[in-house]
Amino acid sequence: MRRTLPIAVVAGVGFFMLIQYFIPREEFETLYEWALDWTMVIGAFAMALGLYSLTNMMLNKVKRKSEGWGFSLVALVGLFLMIFVGLVPHYQESLRYGTLFMDIFEYIYIPIQAAMFSLLAFYIASAAYRAFRARTVLATILLVSAIIIMLRLVPLGPLSAVNQWLVNFILTVPNMAAKRAFWLGVGLGATATALKIMLGIERGYMGRD
């Protein structure tokens, strides 16, 4: 029961979703819609679970006054402030532009996120500098291809036309071929894995007892 039931659910739901792809009947569409709705609801509960473990972890740090507990407090304040200003105005009003909820979003959340993401510009430069050394054939190929692509943004005078041609060639021939083959492989591998999951051949993720 403890093991068979979940496996049966996996197989049942999985095969229903699979078969549904081929059956255009209305009843199946309705059932399918329900299944989609349900996954969304379950997702909302999973989020609650995530919030619970997050607050739990942070609260523990604050209570135990362990190293950096002040920062955990900052996170907790951010979390509850957001929930408070989100819930207090009447239904969905808070999601409108111009509310405190949206102001915090726009002036605290967006800038931090964008700044974190832009750190990648520095990382990519240092990774390129460090790793793009013509040590082996493969490294050289990688390096040359990357440099040609990067040069498309650099005005090179008459050489720009040549480079643009090379860029187009790389993007539409080897790049495209590489991606085709890559996706063919991934498509087959993922399908095989999904099938093994549905058939219960691969069931390690369910645990033992």
Binding site: Y21, F22, I23, P24, R25, E26, E29, T39, A46, M47, L49, G50, S53, L54, M57, Q113, M116, F117, L119, L120, Y123, I124, S126, A127, A128, R130, A131, F132, L142, A146, K179, F182, W183, L184, G185, V186, L188, G189, A190, T191, A192, T193, A194, L195, K196, I197, L199, I201, E202, G204, Y205, M206, G207, R208
Partner: protein, 298 residues
């Protein structure tokens, strides 16, 4: 072209024949291949015959090879270099007595890549279990936590060390991509794991993680089927597992013959695809487009 190697699997011969006949009927019967205006009353969408054929063929070969492997027929599978790299990295970590870090990507558990990562995680746990070094698994999606916990627990148990399992090492960090990346970076800088294993579905945070890992001097093995993150793993990690190799690794690591059967199956499918491609290209070059058009999916 013989699609099903029937002669070698006598038990399945009748079944496969029925399937084969059914497909032939579907292909020949014109009433199926004519698209109808209103399909809400019918039991089969004729526009998807090509999908069905391929699905049945692919499932057929995979199940066939899995059965064959179960019977004990040996299947040759080439050594996947990434496997050595994982073992080497874990080995180094145990020698040095430093932790192992396993990052399962940032997508939810209903993504196949995440499930593949979970399968790898179980085997890594099995490798680590014998030595008293921690295995950290920071997690981005709440749904992945229970699955990862089960996998690690099972890996430890199957190595005979259920006591070594520490629940606190499998931790949920944040749903938020960069907050998660920052959390993982924290683990890398503080706990200094010797082996960083990054498997699953990664996005922009891939470079952050791989660069920080490089700074700490860890041995890094990464694998993903997200093509746009592979360049960064290739550049910043010691070993990269590319695309389908991720799924192959998950099958190979478990060392169960029946799981390997599916590799053989998808290899056969690849050979068939190459044949179809060659045939299609030749036919198209001579102006015959019907064959190509049959592969069009609406």
């Amino acid at each position: 072209m013989i699609i099903f190697p029937c002669s070698k699997a006598p038990r399945y011969r009748p079944f496969l024949r029925v399937v084969f006949l059914l497909i032939c009927i579907l292909l020949i019967d014109p009433s199926w291949s004519l698209a109808q205006e209103d399909l809400t009353e019918s039991w089969f969408n004729p526009n998807r015959v090509n999908m069905l054929v391929f699905l049945v063929f692919f499932f057929g070969v995979i199940i066939y090879f899995i059965r064959r492997a179960k019977k004990g027929k040996s299947l040759f599978i080439r050594r996947i270099a990434g496997l050595d790299a994982i073992e080497e990295a874990v080995g180094r970590a145990t020698e040095m007595g430093r932790p192992v870090l396993f990052v399962p990507g940032i997508e939810d558990v209903n993504q196949i890549q995440t499930v593949a990562a979970m399968i790898i995680l179980g085997n890594v746990a099995k490798m680590v279990a014998g030595y008293d070094i921690p295995l950290f698994v920071p997690i981005c999606r709440p749904f992945v936590v229970p699955v990862a916990e089960e996998r690690v627990k099972e890996g430890y148990a199957s190595a005979g060390r259920p006591d070594a399992y520490n629940r606190d090492n499998v931790r949920y960090i944040s749903d938020e991509q960069f907050a998660y990346a920052a959390g993982v970076q924290g683990i890398m800088l503080r706990d200094k794991p010797m082996a960083n294993l990054l498997f699953g579905s990664f996005f922009a945070e891939s470079l952050m993680l791989a660069e920080t890992g490089f700074l700490t001097g860890a041995i890094q093995v990464a694998g993903t089927a997200n093509i746009h993150q592979l360049p960064f793993f290739v550049v910043a990690c010691d070993y990269t597992i590319i695309g389908e190799e991720l799924f192959a690794t998950s099958a190979y690591l478990s060392k169960e013959p029946k799981l390997l059967g599916s590799l053989k199956g998808s290899d056969l499918a690849k050979a068939v695809i190459m044949g179809i491609l060659a045939l299609g290209a030749i036919l198209v070059s001579f102006g015959v487009i019907e064959f190509k058009n049959w592969f069009f999916i609406q």
